[in-house]
Symmetry: C2
Subunit: 480 residues, 2 copies
């Protein structure tokens, strides 16, 4: 482990947070809020840390291990420092609560401990939602470009941060195309802001909700979430953009190059859209009687399905009151999540696809015990590395799920709340069922549970590996 | 698929059921119950079926595929016919309910749709519990021995029926040692009967509860289950025997050969005992205040832990009223289950061990990306076949779990009941939480749910493969 280089890159990454924190100050100045001054404290701290890293270390070699440790530490320290203004301003008096809120922001979860969201100053609400937008795309590759780190080195960091099972194939593309990807992210967000402004939202709300959609986060500036606006147009715009941000960004890259054939043939996209359509139909049928017309039922069904499968977690209806079948569908969508290399969470549609293909292969081998059958996705053979990665991911996911549920159950909440609070945080969705349903929040959990659920959010967003890396003995050996 | 041979073996297997059905008639005669006469109907039916199979087919080749299909059909048809006396006698008026009860019996689950168990005649109660004992050890290998089927052929059937991840290693041993294994099963059951008689149970109850323990089933002749006897001695005896029947029977074989070193070094046994000890300590601490002394708390804690990890499902306390941590521990024990090649269900301790080792290997490979590390259990390298079997099993398990929960949720019960009813039936445990907790039952489910849960019991007992085999198109091609 090249600890000096890890520290050096960390100081750069924290420097970027200092720059970004001037944005909520700007918002505070516009709205004349004196709470904006509290952002100067973390900025000062971050500048101090940045100064520590002015000298570049002699040995600059970093590999996968360092990449993961840098990623894990960056996300944790961004949240640790990003939470400071909430606590010193008194907006969120408990620092653990503020940290939970910030981790929920950066990991694009959207679970909140706030009971009265409107009580927060605009600058704080802005920073809270802006963290979704930062966390959605991942900051580290962006920072790598800014700091001119060698391409091969930034690859290791990109790999640790990008979601999805096939990291190796993505990474080389990433380093050359990072500007295009960020450009598309900017552009899509800007288009959504325009659409929301047309719908009559003010600029502040448009920005906040575009950040929440783009990052598939789910923080709103209103306690009622999107239901506050009570507009079919706004519901529609946000539904479409949530689903768009849940698509693999690599496909937008293909669209730019007019390779529509590959897009059409993409198995993950097809499964993603199929699941969405089936879920929308079932939910529409299930809630038909709650609404005046099929169209109205479809409006609420499509919004909730879009919000949950993309793990955004915005709400316009309280699905915790729906028939049990629909609640189970919602929880299943949560676990599945969005496409790989999107801003969404969950175990990803591509992993579900791979698991399905593994089952199919197993059945074929039962029928023909001597056949050796390969697994293909999009017509290409899936590497054994990708598969063993999948097995490891699923087993570790299950182990962390069970461990977290055990720890959270110490709070002695009901079974539904205990289990779904862990599922929704591990999937970076936001709401669950029971006390953490759409009309509830995470305020009543103990400090231990809040820390466990924060851990689950990080594990979910960074897909287990980098966070697990921090806890392995081998990581901390052999320094130079 | 050699359908003629499958049919031929099936007729033999059903002939054995006819013979076994004379036992409840004997019980009926002893207790002077005229309901015993209803057993003659299925016996007549079985004899008719047996006569159909007097001519041995020309082509006698059977392979893994046929083995699985025979296994699946045997279990299903035993239950289909075994359920007849309950319905025609009017004891369980609905045939679907009777079928649920019989599948629950043969799969050693112990979930019941009965609301008043004591209302049943003794002969019916005997048959219900006897099905646990038959199902516990698996009948097919026994039948193979009786019918003098060639060893290599019976191996394919033994493999389909034996629980645990390493079927290949077991099977050759099995075919030569099947008499010893059944002998030990008989002997251990007989010893338990003696211990229960000493505790003051009458012979009928002793037999019923020894069958329930030996098969890790859980049917009792009393609605209150073991709590009815209210005896620390009986609780203790049953706790010890449940745990003994949850041990890999291969280890008893080693004990007969005085190979205690291998037993001591067996990793699955060590993990099994470790989980039991930790769970007993935690549960004792958690329910300490409900009881007069630590010893009393330990009595109830150890019984419930033993009953659940071995997936027996007997109860002396209502764990659905315990603190949430203990409820989560109970559900986790249910999923883990007993050792491979025991009479217990669940995913098996050996699979949990393998999953843990896969996670450990994944972590090692994160640290040293170029290292190729093998997985060892008991000092021996685990075959790739065993591992790909594990992946398939776990993925199929998860898929069936989610699918079943979706179907059962149509009944619109609460989340806890919906989820745990599927978990407890897939694990062949018996009780779950919520409406299916220790003081509840499965009577209020719809016909669809009862069929889904029956399917889950079969899938759990036969470990997915044979049942899945029935649904694959390739199974039914190429007959001769």
């Amino acid at each position: 482990m090249n600890i000096k280089m890890v520290g050096y890159i960390l100081t750069k990454i924290l420097g970027v947070e200092a720059v970004l924190m001037f944005l909520p100050i700007l918002v505070g100045i516009i709205y004349g809020e004196r709470e904006a001054v509290y952002f100067l404290v973390p900025i000062a701290l971050l500048c101090l840390i940045f100064l520590l890293g002015l000298r570049k270390p002699k040995h600059q070699e970093i590999y996968a291990k360092e990449g993961m440790v840098i990623t894990a530490f960056s996300w944790i320290s961004w949240a640790l420092i990003g939470a400071i203004p909430f606590t010193i301003s008194g907006c969120i008096p408990s620092y653990i609560d503020a940290l939970f809120e910030m981790i929920s922001g950066f990991t694009t979860t959207g679970s909140t401990i706030l009971t009265d969201i409107e009580a927060l100053p605009m600058c704080m609400l802005f920073w809270r939602s802006f963290s979704h937008w930062i966390g959605g795309m991942g900051v580290l590759v962006f920072v790598m470009v800014l700091t001119n780190l060698d391409k091969n080195r930034s690859m290791y960091i990109a790999r640790a941060e990008m979601p999805g099972p096939e990291k190796d194939k993505l990474a080389p593309k990433m380093s050359s195309n990072v500007r295009i990807l960020y450009g598309m992210y900017f552009a899509l967000t800007a288009i959504e802001v325009v659409f929301l402004l047309i719908g009559g939202m003010d600029l502040f709300d448009s920005l906040v909700h575009a950040f929440g959609t783009a990052g598939t986060g789910g923080f709103s500036s209103h306690s009622e979430s999107i239901a506050y606006f009570n507009s079919a147009y706004i519901d529609g715009v946000i539904t479409v953009f949530m689903i768009l941000f849940g698509v693999n960004f690599g496909l937008y890259y293909l669209a730019l190059h007019k390779d529509f054939k590959s897009i059409f043939k993409n198995e993950e996209l097809r499964l993603y859209l199929l699941i969405i359509m089936v879920a929308m139909v079932l939910v529409t049928m299930g809630i038909r009687d709650n609404y005046g017309s099929v169209f109205e039922a479809f409006r609420y069904a499509s919004f909730q399905v879009g919000a949950i499968i993309t793990t955004t977690g915005y709400c316009t209806a309280d699905f915790a009151l729906w028939p049990m079948l629909l609640q189970i569908i919602i929880v299943s969508l949560m676990v599945i999540g969005a496409c790989a290399s999107s801003t969404g969470g969950g175990i990803k549609v591509s992993r579900v696809l791979l698991m399905g293909k593994c089952i199919h292969r197993g059945v074929r081998q039962m029928e023909h015990p001597k056949s050796v059958s390969v697994i293909r996705v999009n017509g290409k053979k899936v590497d054994n590395d990708v598969l063993s990665n999948l097995y490891f991911y699923i087993f570790a996911y299950l182990a962390i799920l069970v461990g977290s549920v055990l720890l959270v159950s110490l709070d002695n909440m009901d079974f539904t709340t205990t289990v779904t609070s862990v599922i929704t945080t591990m999937s970076n969705t936001g709401p669950g069922l029971g006390a953490v349903g759409p009309s509830g929040n995470f305020a009543s959990f103990s400090i231990l549970s809040k820390l466990v659920l924060s851990f689950d959010m990080l594990v979910g967003r960074l897909e287990i590996f980098p966070i697990l890396m921090l806890f392995t003995a081998g990581t901390w050996r052999k320094r130079f």
